[in-house]
Symmetry: C2
Subunit: 242 residues, 2 copies
């Protein structure tokens, strides 16, 4: 088996992904962490949509809507993109249409993959265990920021790579995996300090979202395994289904 | 001033580059190193072309041609992509049409930039000195491999970043620069060992090109500053012109 990392949605088409590949989409700050949090809180499904208009249409039909652009919650929406907003009393058993600056766009480019799951530091072990059990090639697809490479999603790729290389039959498929692993090994003793000067930490701090940053850097605090159901085009919690 | 790094030609359009930006194109293994070597050997100009057919057309007109695809020299060509081939007795004062798998493609995406130069480990200091004197924003454009990110070009970006941050008014523009700098600081004590498992080292070793690898990892052995003349669409040696 191979583990590969694609550092931007705009590079996805240049990587060979065989049809059985499991694609792990990551948007650490904050979409993938927030999706896991919503599922831990009992959300029935997350319906990822590309545009604000689609999220508004779902809202008009009576669904809850989470919508964020450039860190801020969209006015019409019930939720923004903070994991703290998706509490059990608000989301338990509910379906939520969800659109964010980068996270939901990454899903679009990978939609032909057989299996798509959502990864975050919070559900790192859950994702790793699932991939090892599944025993297929893995591609980590970093959401990045407007197709630019970012540090935190790359670090997640390194963390997952380290787990695979340490205890199973996985090998690295490309240099991007080597890059991510190197960075993770340097960062892992103190991820938050390592990310101090990163672009998105600055954006979040400017919006006084330090507690979101801390939440998103927790490791293995979530039991959620969001998996994309291609028929219904919804993200479901695999660990709640099975 | 800012220093930024674009890890793949396919990402270039997502980065803001103001019109005065100096773009440094890097393809360590081996196009950018070979261009520097040819200029150190006295080549009058390198004419970068996208396709094999264009290189053949120049050859038919009586020019020398360097052409490589997937590590190997193309049959019709006078030279492949090894820096050792471009010796003074063969290239002194000559113009050479030149096409390689990745290096010449990167030039295409950056062609709107005001200033385009070619960077390699061999001319690292020459490039850094030029950029500091010019005092404009710098974008390192990594040629990569078929638009995939590679380790050696990223490392060069980190090496250049380290110089700028240590002795001038440059700041990092994006996370890609942080990634490259981190990797460089880990690798610089022994670059070749660090690259042992990288993709392109494997390709070159499979073609018995270890001496090319060593050549391409020499630091500050070249006095060449290849600069792209947009009017003539040729690379000239700025340090020979001035």
């Amino acid at each position: 088996m191979t583990i590969d990392i694609c550092l931007s949605p705009a590079l996805y088409s240049f990587y060979d992904t065989d049809p059985q590949t499991t694609v792990v989409i990551v948007d650490i700050f904050r979409a993938s962490t927030t999706i896991c949090a919503a599922m831990d809180a009992g959300a029935g499904a997350i319906i990822p949509v590309q545009s604000i208009e689609e999220a508004e249409a779902y809202k008009a039909k009576g669904l809850l809507a989470g919508a964020e652009r450039n860190v801020a919650r969209c006015d019409f929406a019930d939720f923004g993109n903070s994991p703290y907003e998706y509490t059990a009393d608000r989301v338990q058993g509910k379906e939520i249409a969800f659109t964010t600056t980068n996270g939901t766009q990454a899903l679009k480019v990978a939609e032909d993959a057989e299996t798509i799951i959502i990864g975050a530091f919070t559900n790192l072990k859950v994702v790793a265990d699932y991939c090892v059990r599944k025993n297929q090639n893995v591609m980590v697809l970093c959401a990045g920021w407007n197709n630019k490479v970012n540090l935190e999603d790359t670090l997640f790729g390194g963390a997952l790579t380290e787990i695979f290389l340490s205890n199973s039959d996985f090998t690295l498929a490309s240099d991007a995996g080597r890059i991510a692993l190197s960075l993770w090994q340097e960062a892992k003793a103190d991820i938050k300090s390592y990310l101090t000067n990163s672009e998105h930490i600055h954006r979040l701090m400017a919006h006084h979202l330090e507690k979101d940053i801390d939440f998103c850097l927790n490791i293995n605090t979530s039991e959620a395994l969001p998996i994309y159901d291609k028929k219904t085009q919804k993200l479901m919690n695999y660990n709640a289904l099975s």
